[in-house]
């Protein structure tokens, strides 16, 4: 187990290094003068030279890369001050350290994701299990049909409708807004309720269909029949035997959804006018703020890697045949 973790983490560090190298060379070798970009409108060649020196752009590309990588691990010094580790560089546009910009936005993204996840997992798995349990009945057909309809919705379609109804037409609720959880948990929940509900509506369908179909598949397994043949009750067999086997595919999908949501749910954030990581990524690329773009990319990649490791750990926990060595 420990061996597995160490090996996977080592692998993750190497992949992060490769991603860093890839994005760095991709961005910094394009024929663009970043000093000019960050200088603004009224720019003199002298100003550009100063900026270039401040940003270290006058040094050879390999030296720049080395400094960038060292910065992540140990922090580095800019003209604007010392940037503590993990230092992902300094934004061209605002002069802020990239890590600080990301950390400003991340709590929102995290709240949005975790809140939505809890709701759609709960509803999705519950309705999927219900449909599987009542397979072939009216309940099953209603649940399956509803999930088909819901899965065809998109956030940018459903979001404005819900906003229009609950906020603008009736005034029952306020526009979604982010409050710090630590300051006011109630305001935090109320402020994000609409986006959570809309996200859940759309994601729930996928989980309903998947949990229903894997459960039905598992119920045909021979070991499920054995459990029935030794007299175990239907409920027991359903929840102990079939459900256990359905977990692996479900965890896989959760891992994939989580990592893409954490790396930034761009559409969600724009629909509800919330400033999260996804929005930060879009803004940075529009303003050609390369350090920020790179920072967000590496941050996203980091989450995907970590979640993959967690998913693998879950596999081993669920299925004793998956040995971690």
């Amino acid at each position: 187990m420990l061996q597995f973790l160490i090996r996977r983490l080592t692998g993750a560090v190497m992949i992060m290094f490769l991603i860093g190298a890839f994005t760095f060379f991709l961005f910094y070798t394009v024929p663009q003068d970043f000093a000019a970009l960050s200088c603004g409108k009224n720019c003199t060649p002298e100003n550009i030279a100063v900026i270039r020196e401040n940003l270290g752009l006058d040094k050879p590309i390999t030296t720049q890369f080395w400094e960038f990588m060292v910065g992540i691990v140990a922090g580095r010094d800019f003209a604007a001050g010392s940037c503590p580790a993990p230092c992902l560089g300094q934004s061209f546009a605002s002069g802020e350290f990239v890590w600080d910009s990301i950390m400003d936005r991340f709590p929102l993204t995290l709240s949005l994701t975790i809140g939505g996840l809890v709701i759609f997992l709960f509803l999705g798995l519950a309705s999927g299990l219900l449909a599987a349990w009542k397979r072939g009945t009216a309940v099953d057909k209603t649940v399956s049909g509803a999930s088909m309809v819901l899965s065809s919705f998109q956030i940018y379609f459903l979001g404005p409708i819900v906003l229009g109804l609950l906020v603008y037409q009736t005034g029952w609720m306020e526009n979604p807004k982010y409050h710090e959880f630590t300051e006011d948990p109630l305001a935090w929940a109320v402020g994000l309720l609409i986006p959570w509900a809309v996200m859940a509506t759309i994601f729930v369908a996928q989980y309903t269909r998947m949990s229903r179909s894997t459960m039905i598949e598992q119920l045909q397994e021979e070991h499920v029949r054995t459990a029935r043949a030794k007299g175990m009750g239907r409920k027991y067999v359903f929840f102990r035997y079939a459900w256990r086997g359905s977990l692996t595919p479900i965890v896989t999908i959760i891992g994939m959804d989580l990592s893409s949501l954490l790396a930034g749910g761009v559409v969600t954030e724009f629909t509800f006018d919330l400033a999260g990581i996804g929005r930060l990524a879009v803004e940075s690329s529009v303003t050609k703020d390369l350090p920020l773009t790179m920072g967000v990319m590496m941050f996203g990649a980091f989450f995907i890697l970590i979640l993959n490791i967690i998913v693998d750990l879950c596999y081993a926990y669920i299925d004793p045949r998956v040995r971690l060595a």
């Binding site: 061996q3 160490i6 090996r7 080592t10």
Partner: protein, 372 residues
């Protein structure tokens, strides 16, 4: 369908097939599949010794049966001989030519002479191809143009294996398991091979269908003079089909000889155990009682086979020598010509009950003691 099988006679139609001329020889052949693991970097930490020093000779036109239980390496042996796998060690000679490590190009002419028939008639035929193109494709790949054209030849082959020439344009799913296996036989015959490796060709079929395919293969073997390496776990089927039989255990041939010797005068304890375990259709009291040998447990893992004689851990005659010396496969005293046994302490050459039953299984022994 099977009753009117017509066969073009090719070569010699001598039913006592063994002409004594070597077609294929295998010496010390081994296949070790590496296992990777370890920390912090994965590396080779061991090997599955699937085949661990096999010696075999297939003579022209004979049928050699290769029997053993799962994990004994019999299927891997078949795949090594057809060079679907590359041997780790040893030497394979086909018609005097060393093909152990032959390259693709060198193998090409030989590949058409050594054909394979697989176990599963459902997965070994491409479901999107017609029967005609399945049987035709080996001829196309090898650029063979039989007189009268390929299609005519395919129709002939269909008739040979007891199907109708009209089946040419049908798809595999329209056929039953037994008929599919006939298609597999027709495909193997398309190139007029000298040797057919049949890997459990009838074990996926129902009993009544099995006999149809066994009879077909027997006709093909005898009348067309094709040599067979018949790989199977069913000792009765092998006895029916093969003039000579080799018994494998954990990657090695432990006994080989003509049918009569192996089935009636076996010397290796494992051969005795195997024969005694076969559930024969018999009514109690009819005929002489057979030996009753019940081994303990399953075959050990080929990752770490026992030292010396591989069978010693389950053998009731094992002594210290068995752990240190690997017994050679030789003609031990009392054996007839060509009957080779790899054992330090061979059994008496009879299969009827004599002396006490050998019960190594502790649970069985305990239950049967209390009964007395």
């Amino acid at each position: 369908m099977s009753d009117n099988v017509t066969l073009p006679k090719q070569g010699h139609s001598d039913t006592t097939a063994t002409t004594g001329e070597e077609l294929l020889t295998v010496e010390g052949m081994a296949k070790h599949f590496p296992i990777y693991g370890g920390f912090p970097f994965k590396r080779k930490v061991g090997a599955v010794k699937a085949v661990d020093g096999v010696d075999l000779t297939v003579y022209k036109g004979e049928s050699l049966g290769l029997v053993g239980e799962s994990g004994c390496g019999k299927s891997t042996t078949g795949r090594l001989i057809t060079r679907l796998l590359e041997p780790t060690d040893g030497k394979i000679t086909y018609m005097g030519q060393d093909i152990t490590h032959a390259k693709r190009k060198e193998l090409a002419p030989i590949r058409s002479e050594i054909q394979m028939i697989f176990q599963d008639p459902y997965s070994s035929l491409n479901p999107r191809q017609t029967v005609g193109s399945i049987i035709k494709s080996p001829m196309e790949v090898n650029g063979i143009d039989p007189p009268g054209g390929r299609e005519t030849r395919v129709r002939e082959l269909l008739e040979t294996v007891g199907l109708s020439p009209e089946h040419y344009n049908r798809f595999p799913h329209e056929f039953s398991g037994g008929q599919r296996q006939r298609i597999g036989v027709a495909r193997a015959l398309a190139l007029e091979p000298k040797l057919i490796i049949a890997d459990e060709p009838v074990s996926a079929l129902d009993v009544s269908i099995q006999a149809q395919v066994v009879n077909l293969l027997k006709k093909v073997q005898e009348e067309m003079g094709i040599a067979f390496l018949f790989i199977a776990h069913d000792l009765a089927v092998v006895r029916h089909f093969s003039q000579r039989v080799a018994v494998m255990y954990l990657g090695k041939v432990v006994e080989v000889g003509d049918r009569e010797s192996i089935y009636n005068r076996p010397r290796h304890p494992y051969t005795h155990a195997l024969l005694s375990a076969v559930p024969e259709v018999e009514v109690e009291g009819d005929g002489p009682p057979r030996e009753r040998i019940r081994l303990a447990g399953d075959v050990p893992s080929p990752i770490n086979p026992p030292s010396g004689c591989h069978f010693r851990t389950r053998c009731w005659k094992a002594q210290d020598k068995c752990a240190t010396d690997d017994p050679p496969l030789v003609q031990i005293s009392g054996n007839s010509e060509g009957h080779l046994t790899a054992c330090h302490f061979p059994e008496d050459p009879i299969v009827t009950a004599h002396g006490k039953d050998v019960i190594l299984d502790p649970a069985l022994a305990a239950l049967e003691d209390t009964e007395d």
